[in-house]
């Protein structure tokens, strides 16, 4: 589904990604973790071309992301993305947030878009808030709306960029619950997160990154059981300490 081959990326002369390769199969849930600045957010933003990369190749469902001839808006509309800071559109109501791209990008009728959006809003348990504006919701609620907004486009895969990092602790679980449910339904997911509980519960594979390189790329059991690299062992011992 998503294949990343030997990609490298530079900001000016500073190299943020070095020769990264991995593969995400259909229905697979891959957690990407690592210390801050390790390039984990950058790599998933390369997958839907929010960030350009200078070397290597990424294919999503057989379509090359780096090819200048690729219709990027169309490709992006098929990949859902959830951001650390939710990024709901604050000037639009919850319902309008859910329908805007369905109408403008997919060409759905306003009625069809509304039906679809409200169904997903119900699924994340926020039907009562359909006419509110993002600024009137809690962080956890906003992030659930953001997930529903991404799902409303019927994506073939979902990318999560630290979806719970900006949340108060008591709101993390309501978002993780939605993500766990999604994983269990077979959604293809790449999740950048520090939530190791989530990784243990639903991830198939874990990728550990440091300084722009993929250090570990192994099954969940291998990663939590016996990570090969010293760097990953150190990272785990620090974040699993509590």
């Amino acid at each position: 589904m998503i294949s990343i081959k030997n990609i490298s990326k530079w900001y000016g002369s500073f190299q943020v990604l070095t020769d990264c390769s991995t593969e995400v199969k259909k229905g697979e849930v891959v957690v990407v973790c690592g210390p801050s600045g390790s390039g984990k957010s950058t790599i998933i933003k390369c997958v839907n071309a929010l960030e350009p990369f200078q070397k290597g190749e990424i294919n999503v469902d057989g379509i090359s992301v780096g090819d200048p001839k690729t219709d990027l808006p169309k490709l992006r509309s098929r990949i859902g993305m959830v951001f650390q800071n939710f990024e709901l559109f604050p000037h639009l109501s919850v319902t309008e947030n859910l329908t805007l791209a369905q109408i403008k990008v997919l060409g759905r009728t306003p009625d069809a878009a509304r039906d679809k959006g409200l169904k997903l809003l119900d699924r994340v348990g926020l039907m009562a808030h359909k006419d509110k504006f993002p600024g009137q919701l809690s962080g956890g609620q906003q992030q659930r709306v953001a997930i529903a907004r991404a799902l409303s486009m019927d994506p073939i895969a979902m990318l999560f960029d630290e979806p719970t990092s900006a949340l108060d602790p008591e709101m993390i679980n309501e978002v993780l619950d939605v993500m766990v449910q999604l994983a269990q339904e077979g959604m293809t997911m790449m999740v950048v997160t520090h939530e190791m509980g989530f990784a243990k519960r639903v991830a198939h594979r874990v990728i550990f990154m440091d300084a722009g390189k993929i250090i570990e790329d192994c099954t969940k059991d291998d990663f939590f059981g016996a990570p090969r690299s010293e760097r990953a062992q150190l990272f785990l011992s620090k974040i699993l300490h509590h």
Binding site: P73, S77, M81, E87, F89, H91, L100, F133, G135
Partner: protein, 251 residues
């Protein structure tokens, strides 16, 4: 100071034969508003486009926008007014230039004044629009892009509606500036409010009364603008969204 105010002068007939002085001044206000409003429409249209273009990822488009802004921002308004009135008609194709020069008054002054004020103000609007878009979190544009919106759709539906709400208060100042700046059009012979106050002073020698009236009329006009824009700000306010308006609660 010993000055004998003669308030009755407003009701005296002006020598041009159009009626009493106060009517003469109010017609001037009409020309001030006609000039300012037409210029404001041009300024908003161009400013919106140029300001937006300057935030696009296309390097050459940004440079072109910057060049436009620097040209109109760095030349004094009165110089631009003279350029539009004396120089531009000479640069046009001969037939068009002659037509402009032979336009009956006040149109021969009105048209250059509107063009001048419109473009002069457009770069100020462009600056505000650019700043507004720049003040949005980078993730907003990214979220629109990630959903598959094209660059144009992203501006139209995601970034501009937010940016314009943010820059509404500074745009109010620009709107008031265009009304006040229209007084410079008197230098190319447009008899707007200031021009008429000056004419009244010359006819009647009542300089205090003439400019007292102009001052009060400008003041009242701009107060109307302030209240209208505040009402607009209130109308487009989004529930729960942080707003620049002082009426919003502390965040």
């Amino acid at each position: 100071m010993n000055y004998n105010w003669e308030w009755g002068i407003y009701l005296a007939a002006e020598p041009g034969g159009t009626g009493i002085y106060i009517k003469y001044l109010v017609i001037g206000l009409g020309w001030t508003l006609a000039t300012a409003l037409a210029a404001w429409v041009i300024a908003l249209a161009i400013g919106l486009v140029v300001g937006t273009l300057r935030t696009t990822p296309h390097k050459w488009v940004v440079r072109l926008g910057n060049a436009y802004v620097e040209v109109f921002r760095n030349v004094p308004l009165i110089v631009q007014m003279f350029l539009w009135f004396f120089v531009v008609p000479e640069l046009l194709p001969k037939a068009l230039g002659d037509w402009v020069k032979q336009m009956a008054p006040p149109w021969g002054s009105y048209l250059p004044a509107v063009m001048c004020l419109g473009l002069y103000t457009s770069v100020r609007v462009a600056e505000q629009v650019k700043a507004g878009i720049g003040s949005l979190p980078r993730g907003q544009g990214m979220a629109g892009t990630a959903l598959g919106l094209t660059l144009g759709q992203n501006y139209r539906f995601v970034q501009l509606p937010q940016a314009l709400r943010i820059v509404l208060p500074p745009l109010t100042s620009e709107f008031m500036n265009v009304i006040k700046n229209s007084s410079v059009a008197l230098t190319i012979g447009l008899l707007e409010l200031t021009g008429r106050a000056r004419a009244m002073q010359e006819f009647s020698f009542k300089v205090f009364e003439a400019f007292a009236a102009a001052t009060v009329i400008y003041l009242l006009t701009n107060l109307v603008v302030v209240f209208a824009m505040r009402a607009l700000e209130k109308k487009v306010q989004v529930p729960g969204l942080i707003s620049a308006s002082p009426t919003a609660g502390a965040h």
